[in-house]
């Protein structure tokens, strides 16, 4: 194991190299650009054996990854902000085909160059797994874990992981680089479960017909292909079987729900092998016997740790919950947290206009079935790259604590 001071984008590139991704298709966009550059250096120097496709746009990047993944490639792409919005159409495709593509997103707001989570949050309903990182070490480790999660037979879904643009992507920190052999042992080479080969066509069709005629539908985790209604030679077999398409949604929902357990398992195994783990879906920081917690994502969680340390030293009873997995949403974890404290302050670096904080809504909804529900407060912070300082978090924490003690706070929602 060696250590290097590197920017977040280089940590992403290292994770891809260590994971031995062999198909990389990406298009440059600030603040993701250097990911593509580092990777092209790895490929051109021979350090990473991969097909590198210099595509002409993000839709092509995603579709090329998807198609390559069908063929049997371990595919990677990276983008940011507007590039991710442009890619939106193709994201649905990778998810519905249940392909283990991994993508890094250098989070950039959709309205400015500054970092916020509105870009990846806008892809909320695409069926991808969404993970968020707090520092460059976590970026490198998450990149490797992402493939392990995506390729798990119980999951087989694409994974996107976010790193705050500039704050991580262009900021250097010391990062430990795991040994290649150790990563190879953790993450064996990718093999397509159902390779699509011309010589297997007749056999596959027969298999599929049998499967269908036996009344299985195509919802059992995998049909001959990681396919769905879009594989048109299969369509020919069951033309008009529209109800089946709804089952596909259900199968997808079940797979992404199973991913909750897989994310926790992969995180724990990574911890055992490499000495670092991140709590799986959520990381509870100093949450033992606290009256209240705040919830934060990405680099705001890092700032929040400093604030929580300070407040607990002052004797204040408040902890931090770092939300790492936004999709699948850790509903059960929040129910457990909700049972243990009286107030939760959710910091959203995003907004769903017309409703409010996206994480706030999900956290609050998770708690609805609880007999005793904590107060849940909403804070908007860091949008458009607005700086979030330790004292901002202290303010949020103190206000949340006030609510936990039954004191009146002026409004449910506050812009910080």
């Amino acid at each position: 194991m060696k250590s290097e001071v590197m920017v977040g984008n280089k940590a992403v590139a290292y994770s891809v190299k260590l994971s031995r991704a062999n198909l990389i298709a990406a298009y440059p966009i600030t603040p993701q650009t250097t990911i593509v550059q580092y990777l092209s250096e790895f490929v051109s120097s021979g350090e990473l054996e991969a097909e590198f496709v210099n595509v002409e746009g993000e839709i092509t990047a995603q579709l090329a990854c998807m198609a390559g993944s069908i063929a049997g490639a371990r595919a990677f792409t990276a983008t940011s902000g507007p590039g991710l919005l442009y890619m939106h159409h193709a994201l649905h495709g990778a998810a519905r085909y249940r392909l283990p593509v991994v993508m890094a997103v250098a989070n950039r707001g959709v309205r400015t160059m500054g970092p916020d989570h509105t870009d990846l949050m806008a892809q909320r309903d695409t069926g991808w797994i969404h993970l968020y990182c707090e520092n460059n070490q976590e970026v490198l480790d998450t990149g490797i874990m992402a493939y392990k999660i995506a390729e798990d037979e119980r999951v087989r879904l694409p994974v996107a992981f976010g790193l705050d643009g500039y704050v991580l992507s262009y900021t250097a920190e010391p990062v430990e680089i795991p040994d290649q052999e150790a990563v190879d042992d953790f993450l064996p080479p990718y093999k397509s479960l159902y390779p699509v080969l011309p010589e297997k066509f007749d056999e596959d069709i027969e298999h599929y017909k049998r499967h269908w005629n036996e009344g299985h539908g195509i919802n059992e985790p995998f049909t001959p292909y990681p396919a769905d209604e879009s594989f048109s030679h299969l369509t020919m077999v069951r033309w008009g079987a529209g109800h089946d398409l709804q089952w596909r949604w259900r199968g997808h929902q079940e797979a992404i729900t199973r991913a909750k357990q897989v994310i926790n398992e992969v995180d724990a195994e990574y911890g055992k092998r490499f000495g670092r783990s991140y709590g799986g879906l959520v990381d509870e920081y100093r949450c033992e016997d606290v009256e209240a917690v705040i919830v934060a994502m990405g680099t705001i969680a890092s700032t929040a740790r400093a604030a929580i340390d300070k407040l607990q030293n002052e004797g204040k009873s408040i902890g931090l919950v770092k939300l790492k997995a936004f999709r699948p949403f850790p509903t059960e974890q929040f129910q457990s947290i909700g049972e243990r404290c009286k107030a939760i302050g959710v910091i959203d670096r995003n907004i769903s206009l017309g409703e409010g904080g996206i994480v706030f809504a999900s956290v609050r909804s998770s708690l609805y079935d609880q007999e005793e529900r904590p107060i849940v407060l909403s804070y908007h912070a860091g949008l458009a790259g607005n700086e979030v300082r330790v004292r901002d978090i202290e303010h949020i924490a103190n206000r949340t604590l006030k609510a936990a003690r039954g004191e009146r706070v002026e409004s449910l929602v506050e812009w910080v």
Partner: protein, 298 residues
């Protein structure tokens, strides 16, 4: 350069299942049949939104690229992926409509050509968005009636000439570009047989008459296709390495365009002056093409 073939040289083995839900007289389904007969079954098929998903009952692994604009990208990913697993012998082909080629898919097409991806792109061109009811595309010929260019007091059908995509692609300096017609299957097959052996980006643009959209009797599909070639409206040629052009079929004397246009309801509103204008353009384009025959396009 493709070698001249006779109709007897077309492979006998079918790559299609019988029966499909295409319109009567659909040239597109004939395109699919001919193309995959020639490529053989060690191949893949990519399609995007078009009539093709309905009528292409072809027995090779088929992918519906989940984005109309995505044919170039999807083909690229497949070609690279099959290379990674050591299966470059598999012909990665796409059967894409004119919309998915010349309009919404054009960016990805141009980029795949520029990268010289190892793919074979077939455009079956019915000259409008026929699957959605016949709206104008940039492959629609001038004056044609479409659902979005209805001849009226203010409009004479489509106002503009079509985009010359085979030439645009040739200027990307790709190894092989050709045009073809369902009325000349031996020419089409010969070109695919040649293209199959070439590595890199290969493109074939196939004229595909659509009885439903063009307004002719379904029994006349091949006749219409032949008239278009014989009148010079759809010349058959190939361009090698983006430079060397060869006209692969040269009628001794071009038939008048009026005969070809007269068969199609979409040109029924044309005045004699307009037909003459089309005749003039067609003749001069044909002469220009002949002047390049056996030489370089630029």
């Amino acid at each position: 350069m493709s070698k001249k073939m006779s109709i007897m040289d077309i492979p006998e083995e079918e790559a299609e299942w019988p029966g499909n839900p295409a319109c009567q007289g659909c040239a597109g389904s004939t395109v699919g049949r001919l193309v995959y007969k020639a490529i053989g079954r060690n191949s893949l098929r990519v399609e995007v939104a078009s009539c093709a998903p309905g009528f292409m009952n072809i027995r090779v692994p088929s992918f519906y690229a989940p984005a109309f604009e995505g044919a170039g990208a999807f083909l690229t990913g497949l070609a690279r992926g099959y290379k990674i697993i050591g299966r470059e012998d598999v012909v990665v082909a796409g059967l894409i409509g004119d919309g998915g080629t010349v309009d919404i898919g054009f960016q990805g097409l141009s980029a795949a050509a520029e990268r010289n991806e190892n793919i074979f792109w077939f455009t079956y061109d019915n000259e409008a968005y026929m699957n959605t009811g016949g709206q104008r595309s940039s492959a629609t010929p001038q004056y044609a009636r479409t659902a979005t260019t209805p001849p009226s007091k203010l409009l004479r059908g489509k106002g503009e000439r079509r985009k010359n995509v085979p030439f645009i692609l040739a200027l990307h300096r790709v190894p092989y570009v050709s045009t073809a017609s369902v009325a000349y299957p031996e020419d089409l097959t010969a070109k695919i047989m040649y293209g199959k052996g070439v590595k890199g980006f290969r493109y074939m643009h196939i004229n595909s008459p659509c009885p439903t959209g063009w307004g002719f009797d379904p029994k006349d599909t091949i006749k219409v296709a032949r008239m278009l070639v014989d009148s010079g409206l759809w010349p058959l040629y190939e361009i090698l390495d983006g430079r060397h052009l060869r006209v692969t079929y040269k009628p001794r004397k071009l038939k008048p365009v009026a005969e070809a246009l007269g068969l199609q309801g979409r040109f029924r509103h044309l005045t004699d002056e307009e037909v003459s204008a089309i005749q003039e353009t067609t003749t001069s384009e044909w002469e220009k093409l002949l002047s390049m025959d056996g030489g370089e396009i630029c």
